[in-house]
Assembly symmetry: C2
Homo-oligomer: 352 residues x 2
C-alpha cells in the first residue's frame, strides 16, 4: 500500500480510502491510485485489515468427516450462506475425536474467526468459555453441546424420525424389528435408539436387547452382528438402520451373507420391489442416500443442507447483534416409502 501511495504520488491514507471505496476522494486522484494498483499488482493484506478492524469476516466449521455426504451437504450449505455474508470459511474434520475437535476449534479461534459452527465429537465444551467471553459466537449443529455450554443448536428430530420409521415397520406387520445404530455415546445414535424404543412401547412390543447392535459402520462389525441376528432362534423380520453409512454397509453385508447379487430388474411394481440381497427382510434406513430411490430403500430422510443453512443463518443473526435467548431448533424428518419398508413379514413358522 505504501508503494502504491508512492507510485500514485498520494498519501497512504488516500490509497486506503480508494481501496475501501470510502467517500471523499477526488475522482481523478482515485483514478491515479487505481492505475498504480493495477500496475503494481497490489492486493490488500486482509491480515492487517483484520488486525486493525477486529472482525475477520471468516467463520470456522468443524464437522465429523468432510468426505461423508451428510456432512459435505451440510458444509456446502454453510459455505453458501457464509459467502452470501461476505465471509470465508475454514473447515476441519474432527473424525469423531473430541481432542481433535477441540484443537480445530481453538485453532480457528486463534485465527479470530467471527463465529463457529460445530458438529461436536466431544461432550465437554467448557474450553469454549474464554472464547465466548471474547465475543466469539458458536452454533452447534446435528448434535448439542456438552453440559454447561450455553449455545444455540440445530438438530434433526432424531427421536421422532426413528419412532416413525419403527412404527412404519410395525404397521406393516413386523413384530421383530432390529435396530442397527452407531455407538451409543454419539448423541444422534442414542436419540434414535430412544425413538425406536418409544415406537416399540407404543405398539406394546417388548424391547429385546438381542435385537439391538450399536457400533461404527464397519463392514466386518456389521456382518458379524447381522449373522448373529439372523441366525438367532427368533430372528428379526425387519431392520431399522441408524444412519446412512450403516444402511449402505448393511445392504452390502446382507448381499454378502445371503450370497445373492443384484439381478436384472423384474417388472414388479412398487411396492413389491426391494433392494437386492435383502432376503425376506424389510428395511427402513435413517438418512436418505444416493440411489436409495433406484434400490427401493425406504428411508427416514434428514435434510443436511437445511441443517447447515439453519445453523449458518442463526450464526449470522447472532453476529449481527441478536442477543435473544439461546435457541434449540429441531428440524423435521420425512419418511419416504420406496418398497423395502413396506414388505410384510413372512408367515410365522411356529404358527403354521
Amino acid at each position: 500500500m505504501n508503494d502504491v501511495a508512492a507510485a500514485a504520488g498520494v498519501a497512504l491514507k488516500t490509497v486506503s480510502r480508494v481501496v475501501n471505496n470510502e467517500p471523499g476522494v477526488n475522482a481523478a486522484t482515485a483514478l491515479r491510485v487505481h492505475a498504480a494498483i493495477d500496475r503494481l499488482g497490489y492486493r490488500r493484506n486482509d491480515s492487517a485489515r483484520t488486525l486493525r478492524r477486529g472482525r475477520t469476516a471468516s467463520i470456522g466449521l468443524v464437522i465429523e468427516d468432510a468426505a461423508d455426504v451428510f456432512y459435505s451437504s451440510l458444509s456446502r450449505a454453510v459455505e453458501e450462506t457464509a459467502l452470501h455474508h461476505g465471509c470465508l470459511l475454514f473447515t476441519g474434520s474432527s473424525q469423531e475425536d473430541a481432542a481433535r475437535e477441540r484443537d480445530l476449534v481453538l485453532a480457528f479461534c486463534a485465527r479470530r474467526v467471527d463465529g463457529l459452527i460445530i458438529v461436536p465429537a466431544g461432550t465437554d465444551h467448557t474450553y469454549l468459555a474464554p472464547e465466548f467471553e471474547a465475543g466469539t459466537r458458536a452454533v452447534f449443529a446435528d448434535r448439542p453441546p456438552g453440559a454447561g455450554c450455553e449455545a444455540d443448536v440445530v438438530l434433526s428430530d432424531n427421536v421422532g424420525g426413528a419412532r416413525a420409521g419403527t412404527a412404519h415397520l410395525i404397521a406393516h406387520g413386523h413384530r421383530r424389528v432390529a435396530f442397527l445404530g452407531d455407538l451409543p455415546r454419539i448423541f444422534t445414535a442414542a436419540e434414535r435408539l430412544r425413538g425406536y424404543r418409544e415406537a416399540l412401547a407404543a405398539a406394546g412390543l417388548p424391547y429385546d436387547e438381542g435385537l439391538v447392535a450399536m457400533g461404527p459402520a464397519e463392514p466386518a462389525r456389521l456382518r458379524a452382528d447381522l449373522t448373529r441376528l439372523l441366525g438367532a432362534s427368533d430372528p428379526p423380520t425387519a431392520l431399522l438402520t441408524g444412519n446412512g453409512r450403516t444402511t449402505v454397509e448393511t445392504l452390502r453385508a446382507l448381499a454378502s451373507i445371503t450370497g445373492s447379487a443384484p439381478g436384472p430388474a423384474t417388472t414388479g411394481a412398487f411396492p413389491d420391489r426391494a433392494p437386492p440381497g435383502l432376503g425376506g427382510l424389510a428395511l427402513v434406513g435413517f438418512d436418505d442416500f444416493e440411489l436409495a430411490d433406484l434400490l427401493g430403500v425406504t428411508v427416514v430422510a434428514q435434510d443436511p443442507a437445511r441443517l447447515g443453512r439453519t445453523a449458518a443463518d442463526l450464526l449470522f443473526l447472532r453476529l449481527a447483534g441478536d442477543g435473544g435467548a439461546v435457541t434449540r431448533f429441531e428440524l423435521p424428518t420425512r419418511l419416504i416409502p420406496r418398497g423395502s419398508g413396506e414388505r410384510p413379514p413372512p408367515p410365522r413358522r411356529d404358527r403354521g
Copy 2:
C-alpha cells in the same frame, strides 16, 4: 498479551517467549506466565502473528462443489495433509463458474494464504500472476490451468481411462457405443471424449456424432438424450458415461424410461448380473460411486483422495522451498468389472 504480561508482572516479550516455547525463560517465570494465561483465558491472536511473520499457515482450496462426493473426497485428503503440516484450510466451491473461482482465489490471497489448490472452472488464470509474483504457490488439481499460467498440476489419466472403458465394451462385442459426457468446455469431459474416440479408432469403428451427448448431468437433459439415442434406427448397445453424476442420473433416467424398477435379487452370479433398469444395454461409468458394487456397475475408477493428497504434497513441497521445474502428474485409472460392462450386445435383428 499485554494484560497477561501485566498480570504476571513481566514484560510483553517474555509472555511472547513463553507462548511460543522459546528458550531462555526461567522456569519459575514461565510458570507465573502460564498461570496468568489460564486465569485470563488468553489466546494468542494469530492474525497479528501472521502479520508479523509473513506466513499464515493456511492454504486455500477451490473445488467445484463441496457436496459432490468426488470433490469432497479430494477435499478431505487435502485437509488431512494440511493439518499434518500444521495448516488450516479455507474451502470454497466455484460451482463451475470462472468468475466465482477467481473471486474465491483472490479472497484467499487477500487473506495471504501460503498456497492454493485449485480445481479450475475457468480457462484464464492470468489473474494469478501478481500472486505468484508475491510468492504464493498454487497447484492445480483435476484440471490444468489456462494457457500462460505456469503451475504444477495433478490430473487423472482421463484419456486412458475413457479409452480403456470404451475398449472394454468393444471387446465384449459392442459396435455401437454411446458416450454421455459433460459440457465439452470442461477439460475432463473433453479428454474423456478424446479417449472414447481413440478407442473407436483403434478398433476401426466409425465415430458417430449421433452417439455422443454432452451436457450437464441434469435428469431432464439426460432423459431426453437417452430417449433420442435409444429411439434411433440404429441405437447403441452400450453406454459410456463420462462422470459419476452422469452415471447415476443415467441409471435413474433409464429406470424411468424403461419403466422397470429394481427387483429382488436373482441368484444370477457375476458377470450375468446388471443394474436394474438397464434393459439390454451394457454400461461402463467413469468414476466409481457408492453402491456401484451392489448394483453391479462396471466403472473406470479415479482416486479422488489420491488426487487431493498428491496435490497437497506437491504444494507443501513447493512451500518448503522446492524450486524444481513445474510438474504434471497423471494418476492412473482402474477399470473395475462388475457386470454391467461385460454384457454382450443382443443379436442384431438386421442379421437375423
